[in-house]
């Protein structure tokens, strides 16, 4: 074998790596090593620095809903390619298909109903891992369906948002989902329904500028990035660095746009109390 074809031996690779083995998890912010089982049981919150990592939709539901009571609905609604959108590398419907395989989800939101400490709630949970939680026709439709169910069955509506904004691959139809979901919330409000909006990291763009900001009560997880424009867009527009903490949960609370910042561990209890106070 020619010397340049010989496999290179990387000493590091040969070593036992506890993070790669999956036994230990390294916190992305404070770098402390956490026993993986503890990390999962703590719903991906660092016990050391309180960093709240992203949860996928079903982890979130598991963290909130009484075991065995969640009933998912409308998971048979899937995206099409209404604009025949092709970014030159991949057609949009294939991009969606890839996201489905990667996440084992049908779309960027899971809707359904279940019990929260015995109270009946209507739930919509967004999942950032599915195309950045972007809102296209399916996300808009499912959120609207969930709101309409909440009206019909007089359930408290809870939406967990996590999104980069509208899904540009569906063009104007994505934009229209902002109006559609907001109009449904107006109906819920007129019917006397209770809507709690929970913002998680990150929630920006068209999702923030529609249903996410329309909660009777708006909750945020600690340090979540929440905004209309993304920080990069703002920096490019004004050509200056953004102040630290800008668009984070505490910033929004200081400016009057978030009612309560709730740690993941206390989320279920807080939601329960809010529903109790208002019923």
């Amino acid at each position: 074998m020619a010397w340049f074809l010989k496999p290179k031996y990387n000493i590091k690779k040969g070593l036992h790596n506890p993070v790669q083995d999956g036994l230990w998890h390294k916190c992305p912010t404070c770098n402390s090593m956490i026993y993986s089982k503890d990390w999962e049981e703590n719903f991906k919150v660092c016990p050391n620095c309180d960093f709240h990592d992203k949860l996928n939709a079903f982890e979130r539901i598991q963290s909130l809903i009484d075991p065995g009571t969640f009933i998912e609905t409308n998971n048979n609604i899937v995206s099409v390619n209404p604009l025949d959108f092709n970014d030159g590398k991949i057609r949009y419907e294939l991009k969606v298909h890839e996201a489905m395989e990667k996440t084992m989800l049908k779309e960027a939101v899971v809707i359904g109903h279940g019990k929260l400490n015995g109270l009946s709630v209507q739930l919509a949970v967004m999942d950032f891992s599915f195309l950045g939680g972007s809102m296209g026709s399916v996300v808009g439709e499912k959120i609207t369906l969930a709101i309409e169910e909440a009206i019909k069955h007089k359930r408290t509506m809870i939406i967990f948002s996590a999104s980069g904004g509208a899904r540009m691959h569906e063009g104007i139809l994505s934009l229209m989902q902002m109006a559609k979901t907001s109009a449904a919330l107006k109906r819920l409000s007129d019917a006397g329904g209770f809507f709690i909006s929970v913002l998680t990291n990150p929630t920006t763009g068209g999702v923030t500028a529609s249903f996410a900001m329309l909660g009777d009560i708006i909750i945020s997880e600690p340090d979540a990035l929440i905004g209309f424009a993304g920080p990069r867009v703002i920096e490019q527009t004004i050509r200056q660095k953004l102040p630290p903490g800008f668009q984070r949960a505490a910033f929004l609370q200081d400016h009057g746009f978030v009612d309560i910042i709730v740690r993941r561990k206390e989320m279920k209890k807080t939601l329960y109390e809010l529903i109790n106070y208002t019923h």
């Binding site: 048979n76 970014d87 109006a179 107006k186």
Partner: protein, 321 residues
């Protein structure tokens, strides 16, 4: 003749220059008669404008929609409205000049007006933030629209913005909340609402004043979830590929009509609204008054129900087994 030509209007520019030159020598020299040549050039000019404007690409339409001489809100204020009384301020923070609100008459109809104004000259453009509203602009619009509901007057909103302004202060004052609240409230306003995109319909900043019973678009206007430049820079990390993005985003009238996002395309005079503002206004006036007459025949509860259904059905998806 216009003072500003878009790149694809080069042949029109050349011919209009020749016509102007001939005219000049014609008037200075009475011995030679150029009128036949001028007539011929005029015919050629008309033919050129027609062929160019009948075959505009989406990117060219975008350029016409942003043309520096295109009629903007202040032109409508002067030429579409028979009179206008502006009202100012959101009663919370300040008056946002990027959105103009007030009362107007068009024919026998009284309207409450909400319009995005990009500003004409540099000073005005800066004062009006190039038509990019801050939260107080949307809150002012909401205030005006609530007055419309209270006094049972129809609302006409004129849309022309690159988008809601993405700045630090806008975020501090809740740009997202202001837009969301507008979508929420407009969907239930108990009065007819007509929206017209007169130039650029830029994303949430446009939709925030366009939750209407009828959404109309001028022929050479655009309405999109994202600007072609931003779309290109996200997809291909190159804003220079905007032409391709404009194509992909399907942001012009005929596509939006097909998707049922708009009800009607209002024709512009040949060669674009900037070549004949008066004719543009005439077309807008006829269309707006016709739509209002139709909406006035619908009872208020039915109007709200139909508005809900109008947006409820927008979207494309598939239900699988």
């Amino acid at each position: 003749m216009t003072a500003y030509y878009l790149s694809f209007e080069k042949p029109i520019e050349e011919i209009e220059k020749s016509i102007a030159e001939l005219r000049e020598s014609h008037s200075g020299n009475r011995e030679v008669d150029f009128s036949i040549e001028i007539d011929e050039l005029e015919k050629k000019r008309e033919y050129l404008i027609k062929t160019i404007y009948e075959n505009l690409t989406p990117w060219q339409v975008t350029q016409v929609a942003r043309h520096p001489e295109r009629p903007i809100f202040s032109d409508y204020q002067k030429q579409l409205f028979d009179d206008f009384l502006e009202i100012h301020g959101d009663r919370l923070f300040r008056d946002d000049p990027a959105i103009v609100t007030g009362f107007a008459r068009i024919g026998n109809e009284k309207f409450v007006i909400v319009g995005e104004d990009k500003g004409k000259d540099t000073k005005e453009k800066i004062r009006r933030n190039f038509g990019m509203p801050n939260p107080e602009g949307y809150r002012k619009a909401m205030r005006a629209m609530r007055l419309a509901e209270k006094f049972k007057k129809p609302i006409l909103s004129l849309i022309d913005t690159a988008g809601a302004y993405p700045g630090i202060e806008g975020e501090e004052r809740g740009q997202a909340e202001a837009i969301a609240r507008s979508l929420f409230e407009m969907s239930g306003l108990k009065t007819p609402i007509i929206s017209l995109v007169i130039g650029e319909g830029g994303s949430g900043g446009a939709l925030a004043i366009a939750v209407a019973d009828r959404v109309l678009m001028l022929q050479n206007s655009i309405y999109s979830v994202i600007s072609p430049e931003s779309c290109a820079s996200i997809l291909w990390r190159d804003a220079g590929l905007a032409e391709r993005a404009a194509e992909a985003l399907k942001m012009t009238g005929p596509n939006l009509l097909k998707l049922k996002v708009i009800e009607e395309i209002i024709p512009e005079p040949m060669g674009g609204a900037h070549r004949d503002t008066a004719a543009t206004m005439k077309n807008v006036r006829t269309s707006v008054l016709r739509h209002l007459a139709e909406l006035k025949r619908i009872s208020t509860p039915k109007l709200i129900q139909k508005r809900y259904e109008r947006f409820r059905r927008l979207g494309a998806f598939e239900i699988v087994k």
